[in-house]
């Protein structure tokens, strides 16, 4: 499996790594039960801080995508197969939405901003009220 990070993109590296692992799981490049490369291997291959790899793996464990098996490493959780199916379904919905937006003549940037804005609204709606964490 090939991960590719861009250290100077401004996005935290552990988030980039998480994103790529998630993506690999969603597309099926990583399947349920597959073993992830060791912390040391990822750190050396990508020339990145081992602690950052640890953090990415740990956060994905919290998300329920990865699970550690005692003494033998970190694996893709058996139950994420269902998640991958849901993701593929969602992908189809997004694809058709994008096609329709393109038909309206929207540029990529405009679509992205619209999408981000709607997501932010959704987020704001969910978190309505307490806004001081």
């Amino acid at each position: 499996m090939i991960f590719r990070l861009s250290p100077s993109s401004g996005q935290p590296l552990y988030l980039q790594l998480m994103e790529q692992i998630r993506h690999a799981v969603e597309t099926g490049a990583l399947k349920a039960g597959d073993q992830l490369p060791t912390i040391r291997k990822v750190a050396e291959d990508l020339v990145m801080n081992p602690n950052t790899v640890v953090r990415a793996y740990r956060e994905l464990q919290h998300e329920g995508i990865l699970e550690p098996k005692h003494g033998s490493g970190v694996f893709v959780k058996e139950s994420v197969g269902g998640r991958a199916r849901v993701t593929r379904k969602a992908q189809a919905i997004v694809e058709s939405a994008l096609e329709r937006l393109a038909d309206l003549g929207l540029t990529e940037d405009e679509m992205r901003r619209l999408f981000d804005n709607e997501l932010a609204q959704l987020h704001a709606g969910k978190a309505s009220g307490g806004k001081n964490e």
């Binding site: 100077s8 401004g10 996005q11 590296l13 750190a43 020339v47 081992p50 981000d116 932010a120 704001a124």
Partner: protein
């Protein structure tokens, strides 16, 4: 705290009335790869020399491995437990690689033969070559090998990639990462190469005119700092008074860009509440954080 390898409090040092360190506070956790950043003359090398007991501080406290810096015998104890790779690459000019290894190991009873052999092979160092005939990259690797093999808990590197070509830089960074992963060694390195620091450090300190101006986890800093780009549908009727955390504001026509260091959510909400505004969050690189924090001179 025991989980700090290096700790300084209000460290001060002047040369001829000129302050090199002006109250430096530094905390380097065990097991971190710590990038110590600053412009030339910001105080990086002075800090390292004070930590290693090669320079006396004027005031303030410094601890390495929990031991106070400054004392003669403690300085020896500290130097025994760390490995130092310096930009001053004047290693004994008459010795070969094999000779300097034999020479160095005689000072360290806990010398690790396994690591010596491993890194000799990994670094592809020719045992019979004289030190001046090595390339810069090889000399740095030799110094790294010496530090690692004597079982250093902490590697201090002063501009380790200075003068190396891009391939050698990448090799060096890969080795540092490998050592950190395999041995859990804490790595403290000074640099003004922001891309290198961004690549392998998990914690950084930006030093400017002898004080720490930014310090923390690199990932957290990147999360904390953001650039907001706000595009308004129509010309702005009046200037906007942005809330706290808007460090740097630039406006061009209907577009406003704000470098935000804190209170991101409040500023985003403020922007969204303005009529006809669409808000984009853009990530900020370490370079932008660096330039922003040392800009004011």
């Amino acid at each position: 705290m025991n989980d700090l390898v290096i700790e300084t409090r209000e460290l001060r040092k002047s040369f001829k009335g000129q302050a090199a360190l002006a109250g430096l506070n530094l905390e380097v956790p065990v097991g971190s790869i710590f990038g110590f950043l600053g412009r030339n003359g910001a105080g990086k090398t002075t800090t390292i020399k004070v930590l290693m007991g090669l320079l006396k501080r004027d005031s303030g406290d410094g601890r390495v491995f929990g031991l106070p810096v400054g004392g003669e015998s403690i300085g020896i104890e500290i130097r025994r437990r760390l490995g130092f790779v310096t930009e001053d690459k004047e290693l004994y000019p008459y010795m070969t690689v094999a000779q300097i290894i034999r020479f160095t190991r005689s000072f360290f009873p806990k010398w690790r033969d396994d690591l010596e052999q491993r890194y000799l092979k990994l670094f592809d160092l020719p045992p019979n070559r004289k030190i001046p005939d090595l390339s810069k990259g090889m000399r740095s690797k030799l110094m790294l090998l010496l530090g690692i093999s004597h079982g250093a808990e902490l590697l201090i590197l002063d501009e380790p990639t200075d003068g190396l070509d891009p391939v050698a830089v990448r090799d060096m960074l890969r080795e540092l990462v490998a050592i950190s992963a395999a041995e859990g060694t804490t790595i403290f390195f000074s640099s003004h190469q922001l891309e290198e620091v961004e690549q392998i450090a998990d914690r950084v300190c930006i030093i400017d005119r002898g004080t720490a101006v930014v310090t923390g986890s690199l990932d957290d800093l990147k999360t904390q700092y953001l650039r907001l780009r706000i595009v308004f549908a129509e010309e702005l009727p009046a200037p906007i008074h942005w809330g706290e955390g808007a460090d740097h504001i630039r406006q061009e026509g209907r577009t406003v860009e704000i470098l935000v260091s804190r209170n991101v959510d409040a500023l985003v909400n403020q922007a969204r509440s303005l009529p006809g505004a669409s808000v984009e969050r853009l990530p900020v690189t370490l370079k932008e954080i660096f330039l922003e924090s040392v800009r004011s001179n």
